[in-house]
């Protein structure tokens, strides 16, 4: 249920860090996601695509790494 506003925070953070690091285009986003989340991966990806439109993250590939704990983490991202 929380995917959408989580995603909003996530994008915000990526944009902030990208700006700090003077990145103009994000290519890959690495996330780590725990088993214990109630987050549905498909919904998350869906929202990501939707919300990234028109930003420097638009079209970025989302790599989700699984972990056994309850977490959703933005680990890193690649960009130019």
């Amino acid at each position: 249920m929380h995917e959408m506003h989580l995603l909003k925070d996530l994008l915000e953070d990526i944009l902030k860090h990208a700006k700090d690091n003077k990145i103009n285009k994000v290519g890959k986003v690495y996330l780590r996601m725990g088993d214990f989340t109630e987050i549905n991966e498909d919904i998350l990806r869906h929202y990501f695509t939707e919300h990234a439109k028109g930003t420097i993250v638009d079209g970025a590939e989302v790599v989700i790494e699984k972990s056994p704990t309850r977490e959703l983490r933005l680990v890193s991202f690649d960009g130019e």
Binding site: H5, K8, I23, L72, E80
Partner: protein, 442 residues
């Protein structure tokens, strides 16, 4: 520019606590998403009471909600009695009506003083009011306590009433109990006057949306709370048995509360709906107040639900006093005390059937629906709480409201939205200040 990897480590999940979230997504001045997310952990009551006797169902279902516990009890009892074809006595019915009044009073006071007043007085919660408006806080707590004390005398306690069961009451008020309750209510009148005076000074946001209101309606002269058909300001009226035709529930993924709609895309239940439907039947003193406050049905500003609650407070207090005074005059027949283990002794005949309870509780019309077998065991149950009927309507309100106030600051919009949700007095946890308003974009 070279390809680089930026390492960050931000955890998100701690930020998702809370039971109610408003999500607003505005893109380029256009509203895309507008949701009221109810993320309360589901508790599966309808599942849990399967296999339980209708004689204990009310003890379980009243635990759905501590605030309208008496309402759930009465709806559950009504569904159970309806299912087995039991007709409660006149005395029982009157006492039940009185109990509803007390719950209404208690709940509305809590809502008006502790939840709405802080908004209107510009503070975050009632706690700072202890210092700034000590008298007001004390009055609120006193009035709440008074309503509670009456419930204590009548049914043992307000939260999860003890003595109100299928068939009647396990304990009936004695002469001295009637005196005690009356005294408390007489004493409450002064505080009620002060409350009305305070309320008259409060300003509510201007916002209107033509909508449908749903509540109990009846043909007699009584303001219907406990009995009647389901009626709509759109002119429809159906028997409570057909409640599903009114609620048309559907599940949406962003909310653990189901959504409802009837003649339009959504409808509103609650004090404002009741006042809009039955204003003419209010106690004269409540009518007087309505006139003084300029409340003329049909009121289509949902923020004024609070005002409707105030009017109902006066009605419940005065009509409550009337009921007690009548008992004082005619006496309470103590022979009608029922023993709790009736089902254990087969004193009330049980037969298979389907029953519906439709009761007006503080937040609006509440439905309980049981299907029971020949032993009085529930084989199927359905409960529709007022808040879940309202959620859909709140979303529609928000959709109209947000574009109207887009020129305001984030804080102002947040407050307006929070106040809107709170005006509906949704179940207390969501209506308090944990409504996180999320702007996805502007």
């Amino acid at each position: 520019m070279s390809k680089r990897n930026v390492s960050v480590n931000v955890e998100y999940l701690t930020r998702v606590e809370g039971h109610g979230n408003i999500v607003v997504d505005v893109k380029e001045g256009k509203l895309e998403t507008c949701q009221l997310q109810i993320v309360e952990s589901p508790r599966f009551f309808e599942g849990m009471i399967k296999g339980r006797s209708i004689f204990e169902a009310q003890h379980i279902t009243c635990r759905i909600c501590g605030i309208c516990s008496c309402g759930h009890t009465l709806a559950s009892i009504q569904a159970a009695e309806d299912a087995i074809g039991f007709k409660p006595s006149k005395q029982t019915t009157e006492l039940r009506k009185f109990l509803l009044h007390m719950e209404n009073l208690d709940s509305h006071i809590l809502h008006i003083y502790l939840l709405v007043a802080p908004d209107l007085l510009g503070v975050k919660s009632f706690v700072p009011l202890i210092d700034t408006h000590n008298k007001v806080v004390r009055r609120a707590l006193r009035m709440k306590k008074a309503a509670n004390d009456v419930c204590d005398i009548l049914v043992g306690r307000h939260v999860h009433p003890i003595s109100s069961i299928v068939g009647g009451f396990t304990k009936l008020p004695k002469e001295k109990d009637l005196d005690a309750m009356l005294q408390i209510l007489y004493d409450m009148r002064a505080d009620m006057t002060a409350t009305v005076e305070l309320a008259a000074t409060l300003k509510f946001p201007q916002f209107e949306r033509d909508m449908e209101f749903v509540g109990l309606v009846s043909d007699d002269a009584e303001y219907p709370m406990l009995m009647g058909d389901i009626g709509s300001t759109d002119g429809k009226r159906i028997n409570k048995k057909d409640y599903k035709k009114a609620t048309n529930e559907f599940v949406v993924p962003h909310s653990s509360a189901k959504h409802a709609k009837w003649n339009r895309e959504s409808y509103m239940v609650g004090a404002l709906a009741r006042v809009n439907l039955n204003a003419g039947k209010l106690h004269p003193k409540a009518k007087e107040l309505a006139a003084a406050l300029g409340v003329k049905p049909k009121v289509i500003n949902p923020y004024l639900n609070t005002v409707a609650q105030l009017i109902e407070c006066v009605h419940s207090l005065e009509d409550g006093i009337r009921i007690l005074e009548e008992f004082k005059k005619n006496g309470v027949n103590q022979d009608e005390v029922v023993l709790v283990g009736l089902n254990e002794q087969d004193r009330i005949k049980v037969k298979p059937g389907i029953g519906v309870g439709a009761v007006e509780v503080p937040r609006g019309i509440l439905f309980h629906n049981y299907e029971v077998d020949e032993k009085g065991i529930i084989i199927k149950a359905n409960c529709i709480i007022p808040t879940s009927q309202n959620v859909n309507n709140i979303e529609h309100d928000m959709r109209k409201l947000v574009p109207e106030i887009l020129d305001k600051t984030d804080e102002e919009i947040t407050l307006a939205l929070e106040m809107l949700v709170r005006a509906y007095d949704p179940c207390i946890s969501c209506s308090a200040h944990f409504l996180d308003v999320k702007f996805v974009g502007r």
